[in-house]
């Protein structure tokens, strides 16, 4: 199990140091600093073994979080914990930065005491934590309330407390997807996948029982056989592929989802935590709608000049608008000057990143835009050829590139008298670019 947890700033100074076990000494702190943070060669492995001590680290901007252990622990568990730890800290004080950590060190120690016990991870659900680790002064709690905390933390439904009441029962569903692509210069898809999350914000009274339905291929096929599908055939919101169901390669759920039910019936039923949480994560690789197509054209004119032309085509319904479009065209390392002409948006040569960055605020579907650039090169005595890194792209589109659709989210609360119809439900689809690259 985890023997200790350290947080360093970019200089390697220790901001937070919490040791859970005696086998982790003070020198472990220095060992990580010397061997990882200040290493001569950048350390790319997230797990480092120094003198029979394992260090698992994640980096958030300039902050290093390192979990230390002398035992043979489950590395995936440690990283899951570290990510959770980041989430919890973000939920409490916002961005993880040196300043925020310094300002909230007492809180962080308090959190660490709560979520790790002798190195064993405990409840790290932000909602539950916020009920007893508060940033304001603690109101005088009655004995009852105190005992409630105990039963809640140790009880069966640790993620939701009883007696929640809202005047308006409301829930928000966000389908957030990131689409990853690698395409050859000729437009052949070399690899593509979508990793998505369903994030839910629930403001529901009582202990509601929810059921979530989406166009999962297995479920649709089953219903199709039964011939009793009333949801099928509804108009789709998204890219216009018109397909009815999607094949999910793998998925993971929040701990509130009853896995046994999913395994047997493939239905997703749960009692949701209060507030925001991530209901499920999934990945698809088949029939992905690629929102943009990048067509590069690079021509080398002699040794000192390079001509680049890039066309982007949007490939979704004309009524939808893509946002925050950014195309990044890498330039050779010996670039000495760049002239850019673009029809739409703004383009600029960013020397610090060795790239031309072309930004477009908005772009409708089934449109096309073009940029052309002349790059002057400085002749070098290096015979190495330019490796031509791929052109990458960022964007945001208001549909799910995987084709996932929410079919229903039903809420049942038997004790309180509100029904499924009284709940106000909001659904939103956001497709973002992950690593969206086209070779040139």
């Amino acid at each position: 199990m985890i023997g200790g947890l350290f947080i360093y700033n970019h200089k390697g100074e220790v901001l937070i140091s919490r040791v859970y076990r005696d086998d982790i000494g003070r020198n472990a702190v220095d060992a990580f600093r010397v061997n990882v943070i200040h290493a001569r060669q950048q350390v790319r492995s997230p797990v480092t073994n120094i003198a029979r001590t394992s260090f698992f680290h994640v980096k958030r901007s300039n902050i290093w979080l390192a979990a230390v252990t002398k035992q043979n622990v489950n590395a995936a568990m440690v990283f899951e914990f570290l990510y959770k730890m980041c989430d919890v800290m973000t939920a409490y004080f916002g961005k993880i930065s040196e300043e925020n950590i310094k300002n909230n060190f007492v809180l962080i120690y308090e959190l660490l005491d709560e979520i790790l016990d002798f190195g064993y991870p405990q409840n790290s659900e932000t909602g539950a934590l916020k009920t007893f680790i508060t940033q304001q002064g603690i109101k005088g709690q009655t004995k009852e309330e105190q005992s409630q905390i105990t039963s809640q933390v140790t009880g069966q439904i640790g993620w939701r407390r009883e007696g929640i009441k809202y005047r308006r029962n409301e829930l928000f569903l966000d389908v957030l997807e990131s689409v990853n692509l690698l395409m050859s210069p000729q437009g052949q898809v070399l690899s593509a996948h979508v990793s998505g999350r369903v994030v839910m914000k629930s403001y529901l009274s009582g202990m509601p029982e929810c059921k979530f339905g989406m166009n999962d291929k297995i479920v649709i096929d089953k219903q199709g056989k039964g011939g009793a599908s009333d949801d099928a055939g509804k108009s789709d919101l998204g890219g216009g592929s018109g397909k009815q169901s999607i094949a999910i390669d793998d998925c993971t759920f929040h701990q509130c989802v009853r896995l046994s039910k999913f395994d047997s019936e493939r239905s997703i039923s749960f009692i949701p935590p209060d507030g925001e949480y991530e209901l499920m994560r999934y990945r698809t690789t088949k029939d992905i709608i690629l929102p943009f197509r990048v067509i590069p054209l690079v021509r080398e004119v002699g040794r000192t000049k390079l001509e680049v032309k890039v066309v982007i085509k949007s490939n979704f319904k004309p009524s939808l608008l893509a946002q925050k479009i950014e195309v990044r065209i890498p330039t050779p390392l010996n670039t000495s000057g760049v002239q850019v002409i673009c029809m739409k948006g703004k383009a600029k040569y960013k020397a610090s990143e060795n790239a031309i960055v072309w930004k477009i605020k908005r772009m409708a579907g089934m449109k096309e835009s073009q940029i052309s650039a002349e790059i002057e090169l400085l002749p070098t005595n290096d015979k190495k050829k330019w490796a031509r890194p791929p052109i990458s792209m960022n964007f945001e589109v208001p549909f799910a590139p995987s084709g996932l659709k929410v079919r229903y989210l039903k809420v049942f609360e038997s004790k309180l008298n509100y029904s499924d119809h009284d709940v106000i439900k909001w659904v939103r689809y956001i497709g973002r670019s992950g690593i969206y690259e086209t070779r040139c």
């Binding site: 970019h10 950048q42 000495s336 000057g337 020397a351 990143e353 060795n354 400085l378 190495k384």
Partner: protein
Amino acid sequence: MPAVSKGDGMRGLAVFISDIRNCKSKEAEIKRINKELANIRSKFKGDKALDGYSKKKYVCKLLFIFLLGHDIDFGHMEAVNLLSSNKYTEKQIGYLFISVLVNSNSDLIRLINNGIKNDLASRNPTFMNLALHCIANVGSREMAEAFASEIPRVLVAGDTMDSVKQSAALCLLRLNRTSPDLVPMGEWTTRVVHLLNDQHLIVTSASIDLQDYTYYFVAAPWLSVKLLRLLQCYPPPEDAALRSRLTECLETILNKAQEPPKSKKVQHSNAKNAVLFEAIALIIHHDSEPTLLVRACNQLGQFLQHRETNLRYLALESMCTLASSEFSHEAVKTHMETVINALKVSLAQFGSRDVSVRQRAVDLLYAMCDRSNAKQIVAEMLSYLETADYSIREEIVLKVAILAEKYAVDYTWYVDTILNLIRIAGDYVSEEVWYRVIQIVINRDDVQGYAAKTVFEALQAPACHENLVKVGGYILGEFGNLIAGDSRSSPLVQFNLLHSKFHLCSVPTRALLLSAYIKFINLFPEVKATIQDVLRSDSQLRNADVELQQRAVEYLRLSCIASTDILATVLEEMPPFPERESSILAKLKKKKGPGKLPDMDDSRRSVNGSTDSTHSFTDVLNLNPAPSSGANLLIDVFSESSAPAAATDVSEENFPRFVCKNNGVIYENQLLQIGLKSEYRQNLGRMYVFYGNKTSTQFLSFSSSVSSSDLNVHSKAVDPVIEGGAQMQQILNIECVSDFSDAPVLNIQFRYGGALQNIAVKLPVMLNKFFQPTEMMSQDFFQRWKQLGAPQQEVQKIFKAKHPMDTEVAKAKILGFGVALLDGVDPNPANFVGAGVVHTKTTQVGCLLRLEPNMQAQTPNGNAAPPATDPSFPFGAGLPGSHLGICSRCRGEQGDGFVGLKGTWPKSHELKVAFDLASFLPPDGRVCERLLLRT
């Protein structure tokens, strides 16, 4: 040199550097650098003219970026342009860039050389100095080529300034070191006188300058240090007067050290101590004046207690050299008090906060250790080990192991120490250490019982290190019976104890424990059932690890099937290990590099007594009965997984065996066996090579190639995979083109368990393989023999036999050699006569051979009685020659037998072209060689 004026301070550079320093992360730094590089590139674009200042500034920035570890692939041209500038600072930066960044095969080298040449030819001393420094800094071959002739001219020119001369001299020194062949030696010698004069001038002028210069009350410390260091390069003076003068000087320095300090400033003591340390180093170097040595020792002893860490470090270091030098070791011994004092102090150094000081203290203790204080030192080192710094633990462990072995009077103490060592620092105990313990325990009957008892007790600790389990498993498996009489350590108790550790151990250790169990079955039949149950359990019989599974299955079957007698034979006690250099010592040597360690050769004798006589030399057929080294190490008894790393040396071990035979095993290690089967006809040969995989796993990417300088060898391609336990055959076709002396080498490469193995084997293809036997009548033979009197046609060798002579064996050998054995040709029936023709593609050379054993053997000196009364005869070999004759002149002069050979080679021959007789005869001191070769 002109100081950098204020106006030259480059603001842009300063801003850039401070920007970089202020970057919060690596990424930010890279961004800033990329931006700057783009800026410089746009500035360096061909169409703009830059002034010298900005050029200098940007080149400086590039240099800084390069020093930060980024690649710079432009800007060289601009730097070269700076060379032609007239401003000192610009030139300086240009040279700096070039000496740091330009590699020797760049296209710009011509331009650079031109620039340097111009500067050398200029009369400006600073420019000349810059150019000379650049040459010396780069110091490449190309530089030497270009300027080796130029620099001496600068050096001897009458009008050069002293400082330039100094630089020129140093520059020439550097070039001479890097490429001595390029510096013209002929002219060089004539200029040596000049050079020496110059250097002396510089030295003397410097000394005159410094004569009345005292630095914080110490007279000319730098000069003194340099002179003392210079003296250390020479042997002690022979002249008595000179020596006494020198001794006087050194005494003065030592006396000065005793005086109270004249100043409290640190510079004063630094200067004083610097001179003192050099003086002590010189005393140690001379190693001849006991009084001085003792004084030096005392002085160092004082320093050991000094507050200053640096002083303590230096004192420890000097003590170390002092203790390891021969003479002073004795001298210092007579002053035991000082040594003991120093010892105490150096023990106290373990408490020092500085790890380097502690390291030195360990070195010193190691050097000072002898029989009298070994116990104390080892105990101290052990107790220190518990708190020692990680970086030096392994070394301490090795040192403790070596000291314990070397000075062990009492083996119980040795066993205790090593077990303690494993207990305290098990992680750092390398395999060699515990192998050594086992070797010693097995070789010494008197400690076996004690060792068994001790490991048994040590194993009772709830948590013990895996190495301890290994030692315990081995020793109890071998000698558990010695303590089985005690009810507290009855067989079952022993077994349960070992088995309790089983599941906590790694696979190799488990394998070892399984072997220990089967040995238990032999030692204690009463626990047989228990052990069989353990072996039978699924966790053993169906273990995922193939090695463990195999052992379990095999041991179980062995214990079930074999009778007690067979079991007792199979599982007999390990025979004593052959004596060899302590493997730990070898490891320490390897770690430290050669020559850094005091000689410790006597360690072997003191520990293991003499087992050397066990080597038998009875195998007559085996020409070179050297024990196959390394083949009977402890490791192969146990597991193959710990086989040593792949050997890349060419194996010639079995080579000599193939002189007279064509089939057999040429190479064998733990993984692979290579067998040969070969046949020869005239100048052609065919060799079947059999690769046997001795392991149970596949060899992957197996490939082989034959490299030969003189032979045509065609090898058929082989399958890249050899299954475990399988054998593969490869055919080599060999053609002898002309005479040759070097045998071809077979290079094998394969992957075993992920590790790439390289094996090189010398293939036994010698010239004699291409002999065709020829029958000949006595008359013919002697006629031809006599015709061949010319020196280049004859080779003879007289040697002392190693084995008792056996006529049949000798005959078989001569036949195997390839020639026809001619019976009844020689009038003396004891002699052997042979004839054959060596076939090569180009020529055929006849060859006659004669072998005359000398039954009345005499020792080479002829005075002492021969060691063996029997007529001894080894085996002699022949040399190529078309006709042979007897060289009876040599007979019986010195040797016990000799071979005479005569032949006509088409061209005159070197000794190596003729047969390498030595390949027949192990290079043994007893062989009296006398080879005559006339060319």
